[in-house]
C-alpha cells in the first residue's frame, strides 16, 4: 500500500469511529426523548456489547474467505451506515414500556429485541476497525490512533451537529458518514469503482429517502408531553432541539394547563393562561401569561416557596434554575428590589426573551431583572455579589423524582460544598430557600436538611438548630437556611404563613411536637422527628443508619443527591413487591445494577466463552503468548481507560460550569491526545523497547493523576472566575498529558500480538470492548459508593496490573532458559 492509500484508509477508520461514537451519543439523546434518561443509559451501555461481539466474530472468521479485508472492510462499514438508521427505526416501533417491566414478563422480550437491534450498528463498526487492526499488524499504533482521534472528533462533532439539526436529521447524517467511510475504504483499497460505486449510491439512498415516520421520535405514551397532547385542542406550537434537550412548547387553548404544583388547599384563585414547556417530552414547566396585573399572580403566594418573602421584605433575590420564570414572577409579586435569574439552558431563556416575551410580560427584559445563562455554581464562582434571598426552584418533575430516576445523575446543586457556597453569597440575615417534592416515604427534604446541617457545621457555625426552618404542604416542602439566627418575629411570621395556607411546620427553633403534622397528616411526624434527630449531634449518626433510605449528605466528590437506595432495605422492599411496594424501589440505582449484571453475563456468554475455546491457528506457537496475560492486560486497560475518562469528566464539570461542556471537551481532548499517544507509541517502542515504553507511560499517567488529585481543587478554585475560553484552554492543557499516556499501552501490546500471535488480536479487541461496557457502569456504581477520587486511584491500580501482565513471551523465554 502506498502512503497515500494508507492515509485514506486511516481517514476512513477515523470517520467510521467518529460516526459510531456520534451514534452512541445520539442514541442517548433519542432514547432520552422517547423513553426516560436512565433507560437510555441502560440500553446504550449494553448496545456497546457490539464491540465485544465483534471480537468473537472476527476470531471465528479468522482466515476465512469471506473475511478477506478488501471485501469485508467496506461491507461492514456500509452495514454500519444502513443499520444505524434502520435498527433505530425498528427499535422505536417495539412497544417497550419500562414501567411495566415489573408486572409484565412480555416487556423483557421487548427489551431484549431493542438490545439486539441496537447492538448491530456497533457490531458492524467494530468489525471494520477490528479488521483493520488485524490486517495491518505493522501499523497498529497509527490505526488505533485514527480510531481514537476519529472518536474524539466524533464526540465534538455530534454535539455541534445537535446544536444545528434535530436528532432525527443527525441520525441520517451519521448513517451517511458510515457509507462515506466505506467509500473512502474502497478508494484506499483501490477497488474498481464499477464494483462499489453503484451499490454505495443505492445504500446512501436509504438514509436520504427513508420516510420521516421512521426516524421521528416515537415518544412513550406515558410521558408528560404525550399525556398533555391527549387533552382536546392541545398542540405543539414550537420545538427546539439542542444537545441539552428537546424543548417543546405546548398550547392548550380549550382546557387551560393550570400548572401550580404545591398550591395550598386554601387557594381560591387559579393560574392565568399558560403554555407548557417540556424538556425531552417530560417534566413540564410553564410560561405564564402576565400583563402586569399583580393580582393575577396571587396564586404564587399560596405555595410553600413563598415563605421567605413573608419573613422579611424582599430585597435582592437570586433565583437558581429560573427556567421559564415561575420563581421570577413570584419574586416580582413580592416586589423584590432586584432579581438575578440564573438558567442553564439558553434555549429556554431565548424563548422567554424573544418568542414569548410579550406573553410572559417581558419578565426577562425588566430593568430590575438580570438573566444569566450559566450553571448555578459557575455563576456564583464568578460573582462576589451577596443576596437577601437565594431561591432554588423546583428543578425536576415529581414523577421522575419520586421514582428514583435521578439516582444516577450527578447533581452539584445540592452538595455540602454547594450549600456552603450559597451561604457565602448571603447578606447578613439573608435566606437560602430550597423547595423539593414531598415523596413518600420522606426522602428529598430530609436529605437536604441533613446537607444543610453539615454545610453550616463545616462553615464553622456551631448552632445550626438556630438557622433552619422547614415547612411542608402535601406536595412540596421548603427548607430555609438563614445567615444568622431566626428571631421570634420571624418565627411568628412563619407560623402565620403556614397556618393561613394549611401548611405544616416541620422545624423551626423551639418547635414542639404538638405543633406538627396537623394539616397534612402522615402516619407519624416523620419530618419533625427526622429534623430533631439530625440536629441532635450524637443521635444523628444513629438516625442516618436506621433510616431505610440513604440520607447522607452528598458532596462534590460524591454528587449523588438523589441516591437514596440502601441495600439493607432491599429484601423488605422486594417482599412488598405485589402490594405496590415497587414504588419504594429506587429504580435508577437498581437499573444500574441490573445493567451491570446483564453486561457481565452477556460478556461471558457471548464473547469470552466462545473466544476462550477458539484454538490458535496453525503456524502460531501456542506458548507464544499467555492467554491469561492477554485477558488480564486488555481487561485492565479497558476498565481503567473509562474509569479515568469518567472521573475526569466529572472533575471538570464544576470547572467548566456545564456537564455538556465537560463531557465534550474532556472526552474529545482525552481521545484525541490518546490518539497522539498511540501514533507516537510505535516510535517510542523502537527507541525504548516495549517494557520501558509501557512502564514510562504508566508512571507518567500515575504521576500526573496523583498531582491532579491534590492540586486540581485549589487550581480550579483560583481560576473559576476566568472567561469561558480561557478555562476551556486550561482544561485541554490539563487533559492532554493524561490522554497521551493513556493512548500508549493498548497499541503497544496489540503490536506485540501482531508479531507473535496475530490470531489473538480479535480476542484482545473483544475483551477490551467488553471491559469498556462493564467499566462505564461500574464507574458510576463505584463513584456513588466511594467517590471520584477513589475511582482515579482504582484506575491507576488497574494500569499497574496491566503493566505487570504485559502479554509478550519474554517471561516465558526467561523461565525456559532457567529450566
Amino acid at each position: 500500500m502506498t502512503d497515500h492509500s494508507d492515509r485514506t484508509l486511516r481517514y476512513s477508520i477515523a470517520l467510521v469511529s467518529g460516526a459510531a461514537l456520534a451514534y452512541e451519543i445520539l442514541l442517548m439523546r433519542l432514547f432520552s426523548i422517547i423513553q426516560w434518561h436512565h433507560f437510555a443509559y441502560m440500553i446504550i451501555s449494553l448496545t456497546l456489547l457490539g464491540y465485544g461481539a465483534s471480537g468473537t466474530f472476527l476470531a471465528l472468521g479468522w482466515g476465512k474467505r469471506w473475511m478477506r479485508f478488501r471485501f469485508a472492510y467496506p461491507l461492514h462499514l456500509t452495514l454500519f451506515g444502513l443499520s444505524a438508521i434502520l435498527c433505530y427505526g425498528i427499535a422505536q416501533r417495539i412497544p417497550f414500556n419500562p414501567q411495566e417491566l415489573l408486572w409484565n414478563p412480555g416487556q423483557w422480550l421487548n427489551l431484549l429485541l431493542v438490545y439486539l437491534l441496537l447492538v448491530l450498528p456497533f457490531f458492524f463498526a467494530a468489525n471494520g476497525i477490528g479488521l483493520a487492526l488485524a490486517h495491518y499488524t505493522k501499523q497498529i499504533g497509527r490505526i488505533y490512533a485514527a480510531d481514537l482521534m476519529g472518536a474524539g472528533l466524533g464526540s465534538i462533532g455530534v454535539v455541534l451537529l445537535l446544536f444545528g439539526v434535530f436528532p432525527d436529521t443527525a441520525l441520517r447524517i451519521i448513517a451517511l458518514l458510515g457509507i462515506g467511510a466505506a467509500a473512502l475504504g474502497c478508494l484506499a483499497l483501490r477497488l474498481k469503482p464499477r464494483r462499489w460505486l453503484a451499490p454505495l449510491i443505492v445504500a446512501a439512498g436509504l438514509p436520504l429517502l427513508l420516510p420521516h415516520s421512521w426516524t421521528d421520535p416515537a415518544i412513550s405514551p406515558y410521558k408528560g408531553l404525550s399525556q398533555t397532547l391527549r387533552v382536546p385542542g392541545a398542540r405543539i406550537i414550537e420545538q427546539h432541539s439542542s444537545p441539552l434537550g428537546l424543548v417543546s412548547i405546548v398550547a392548550s387553548p380549550v382546557t387551560p394547563l393550570r400548572h401550580a404544583p404545591g398550591l395550598s388547599l386554601n387557594a381560591v384563585s387559579e393560574p392565568p393562561a399558560q403554555l407548557g414547556l417540556f424538556t425531552d417530552a417530560d417534566g413540564m414547566t410553564v410560561i405564564t401569561r402576565w400583563q402586569g396585573d399583580r393580582s393575577e399572580l396571587a396564586y404564587l403566594d399560596m405555595m410553600t416557596s413563598a415563605l421567605p418573602y413573608h419573613l422579611h421584605p424582599a430585597g435582592d433575590v437570586l433565583i437558581l434554575g429560573a427556567g421559564p420564570g415561575a420563581e421570577v414572577l413570584q419574586a416580582r409579586y413580592h416586589q423584590a428590589r432586584s432579581i438575578d435569574a440564573v438558567e442553564l439552558n439558553p434555549q429556554i431563556v431565548r424563548l422567554i426573551q424573544r418568542s414569548y416575551a410579550e406573553f410572559a410580560g417581558n419578565i426577562y427584559h425588566d430593568e430590575r431583572t438580570w438573566v444569566h445563562v450559566k450553571d448555578a455554581r459557575g455563576f456564583l464562582a464568578g460573582s462576589a455579589r451577596r443576596y437577601d434571598l437565594i431561591q432554588m426552584a423546583l428543578l425536576d418533575s415529581f414523577g421522575a423524582s419520586s421514582a428514583g430516576l435521578y439516582a444516577l445523575s450527578e447533581n452539584y446543586l445540592y452538595t455540602v460544598e454547594a450549600l456552603q457556597t450559597y451561604l457565602r453569597h448571603l447578606n447578613p440575615d439573608g435566606y437560602l430557600a430550597m423547595t423539593r417534592w414531598i415523596g413518600m416515604p420522606p426522602r428529598d427534604n430530609l436529605k437536604l436538611f441533613a446537607t444543610a446541617v453539615a454545610a453550616l457545621k463545616r462553615s464553622g457555625l456551631d448552632h445550626p438548630e438556630r438557622q433552619l426552618a422547614l415547612i411542608r404542604g402535601w406536595q412540596t416542602g421548603t427548607l430555609i437556611v438563614k445567615n444568622g439566627s431566626f428571631t421570634n418575629k420571624e418565627i411568628a411570621a412563619l407560623k402565620k404563613f403556614s397556618r393561613e395556607r394549611s401548611f405544616d411546620t416541620a422545624y423551626y427553633p423551639g418547635i414542639e411536637e404538638t405543633e406538627v403534622n396537623r394539616f397534612n397528616r402522615m402516619q407519624r411526624p416523620y419530618f419533625y422527628r427526622a429534623a430533631q434527630a439530625l440536629l441532635a449531634g450524637n443521635r444523628a449518626a444513629d438516625f442516618l443508619q436506621q433510616y431505610k433510605f440513604n440520607l447522607q449528605p452528598a458532596t462534590d466528590d460524591r454528587p449523588y443527591f438523589s441516591h437514596f437506595f440502601k441495600w439493607e432495605a432491599l429484601a423488605e422492599i422486594l417482599a412488598l413487591r405485589g402490594q405496590g411496594g415497587t414504588s419504594l424501589l429506587e429504580s435508577g440505582y437498581l437499573v444500574l445494577i441490573a445493567t451491570l449484571a446483564q453486561a457481565i453475563l452477556a460478556s461471558i456468554i457471548l464473547i469470552l466463552l466462545p473466544l476462550w475455546f477458539i484454538r490458535s491457528r496453525a503456524g502460531e506457537s501456542r506458548q507464544a503468548v499467555s492467554r491469561w496475560r492477554v485477558f488480564v492486560y486488555f481487561m485492565a486497560l479497558g476498565l481503567a481507560f473509562l474509569f479515568i475518562e469518567i472521573a475526569f469528566i466529572q472533575k471538570f464539570i464544576l470547572f467548566l460550569h456545564h456537564p455538556l461542556y465537560a463531557l465534550t471537551i474532556v472526552l474529545s481532548a482525552l481521545l484525541i491526545f490518546s490518539g497522539l499517544g498511540s501514533a507516537y507509541s510505535q516510535r517510542l517502542q523502537t527507541i525504548l523497547g516495549n517494557h520501558r515504553t509501557l512502564i514510562g507511560a504508566v508512571l507518567g499517567l500515575t504521576g500526573i493523576s496523583l498531582i491532579y488529585l491534590v492540586s486540581l481543587g485549589p487550581l480550579f478554585q483560583a481560576s473559576m472566575g476566568l472567561p469561558d475560553r480561557v478555562r476551556i484552554a486550561i482544561a485541554i492543557v490539563l487533559v492532554a498529558p493524561v490522554g497521551f499516556f493513556m493512548g500508549i499501552p493498548f497499541p503497544l501490546a496489540l503490536s506485540v500480538l501482531g508479531r507473535q500471535a496475530p490470531s489473538l488480536i480479535p480476542w484482545a479487541w473483544g475483551i477490551n470492548g467488553c471491559a469498556s461496557v462493564v467499566s462505564a457502569i461500574l464507574a458510576t456504581l463505584f463513584a456513588i459508593q466511594f467517590g471520584f477520587n477513589a475511582l482515579v486511584l482504582l484506575a491507576l491500580a488497574l494500569y499497574g496490573v496491566a503493566a505487570l501482565s504485559f502479554p509478550d513471551n519474554r517471561g516465558e523465554q526467561i523461565r525456559r532458559k532457567e529450566a
Binding site: H259, A267, G399, M440, P442, Q546, K548, L576, S583
Partner: protein
C-alpha cells in the same frame, strides 16, 4: 316420521346451542372464580398493609363490589388474559386501568353510604365507576379524552349500570349541576387539587387522589372536609413500609 326427520335436522343446531350455553356458563364460572381469587389476593394485601390503612380488612361491601364487577369487560381485548391479575393494565391513550388492590383501598377510604353521590374525575375504562355504582346511589364521571369517555359510557350502558352518568370534558370544575358530592375521586393527573372540586365536596365529605405514575401509585392523598369546611389531607402509603424503625 316427520318429527323424527325434524329432530334429526335440528339436532346439530340444538347441540350447538347447548354447547354454547355450557361454554358460556363455564366461562362465566371461570371469571367468577378468578374474581374470587382476586378478592382473596386483595384481602391478603390489605392485611399486610394494615398498619397504614388502620384496619385489618376492608368494608365487606367494597369487597362484594369487587366480586361482582366483571373486570374483563373493562380491559382491551389483548389484555383479556391478564384481566384478573392484581396489577394495572394499559388501556390505550396512555391511560391505565388501576391495580384492583388500589381501587379497593381507594373505594374503602371514601367510606361510602348507599345513598351517597360520588363524582369521579378521569373515567378511564370506567372500572372504578362500576365499582362505585355497586355501592352508592349516583355516580357522575368526567373524562377529558373523548374516545375513552365515549367508550366508557357505552360500556356502562351495555353492562346496565344505570346509576352512572358520564360526560366528556374538563374535570377541573367538577360537575356543578350535580354538586355537592359526598365523595370525589380524582384519577386524572393534575398539578394541584383544583379549588372548584374542593368546593363541590360536602362538609364531612372525602376526596381521594392517587399520586404517582400511571403504573405505580406512590401515595394516596385523602382529603377530608370537616363541618367547618376546613380541609385536612392525609398521606397514605399503600404499602407496609416504615422508613424508620427503632426508637421512633
Amino acid at each position: 316420521m316427520k318429527s323424527k326427520i325434524l329432530l334429526q335436522a335440528t339436532m346439530p343446531l340444538l347441540l350447538a346451542i347447548l354447547f354454547a350455553f355450557v361454554a358460556a356458563a363455564q366461562e362465566a364460572d371461570q371469571y367468577r372464580q378468578a374474581r374470587e381469587q382476586l378478592v382473596r389476593a386483595i384481602e391478603a394485601d390489605v392485611r399486610a398493609t394494615s398498619l397504614y390503612l388502620d384496619k385489618e380488612q376492608l368494608n365487606p361491601r367494597v369487597l362484594d363490589a369487587m366480586r361482582k364487577v366483571p373486570r374483563h369487560e373493562f380491559v382491551p381485548q389483548e389484555q383479556l388474559s391478564a384481566a384478573y391479575e392484581n396489577r394495572p393494565l394499559p388501556i390505550g391513550y396512555g391511560q391505565t386501568i388501576s391495580q384492583p388492590y388500589i381501587v379497593a383501598i381507594m373505594t374503602d377510604l371514601l367510606k361510602l353510604d348507599a345513598d351517597d353521590r360520588v363524582l369521579e374525575v378521569g373515567t378511564g375504562s370506567a372500572y372504578q365507576a362500576a365499582i362505585l355504582a355497586e355501592l352508592v346511589d349516583r355516580v357522575y364521571s368526567v373524562e377529558i379524552i373523548e374516545p375513552l369517555g365515549v367508550q366508557a359510557g357505552k360500556r356502562l350502558q351495555r353492562l346496565e349500570y344505570a346509576n352512572v352518568q358520564t360526560r366528556v370534558g374538563d374535570g377541573y370544575y367538577g360537575w356543578e349541576e350535580q354538586a355537592p358530592f359526598d365523595a370525589i375521586i380524582v384519577t386524572a393527573a393534575s398539578s394541584h387539587i383544583p379549588p372548584p372540586l374542593l368546593k363541590q365536596l360536602k362538609p364531612g365529605g372525602r376526596m381521594i387522589i392517587p399520586v404517582g405514575s400511571r403504573f405505580l401509585a406512590q401515595q394516596l392523598v385523602l382529603i377530608t372536609k370537616d363541618q367547618d369546611e376546613r380541609s385536612i389531607t392525609q398521606q397514605i402509603m399503600p404499602v407496609r413500609f416504615v422508613p424508620l424503625t427503632g426508637t421512633h
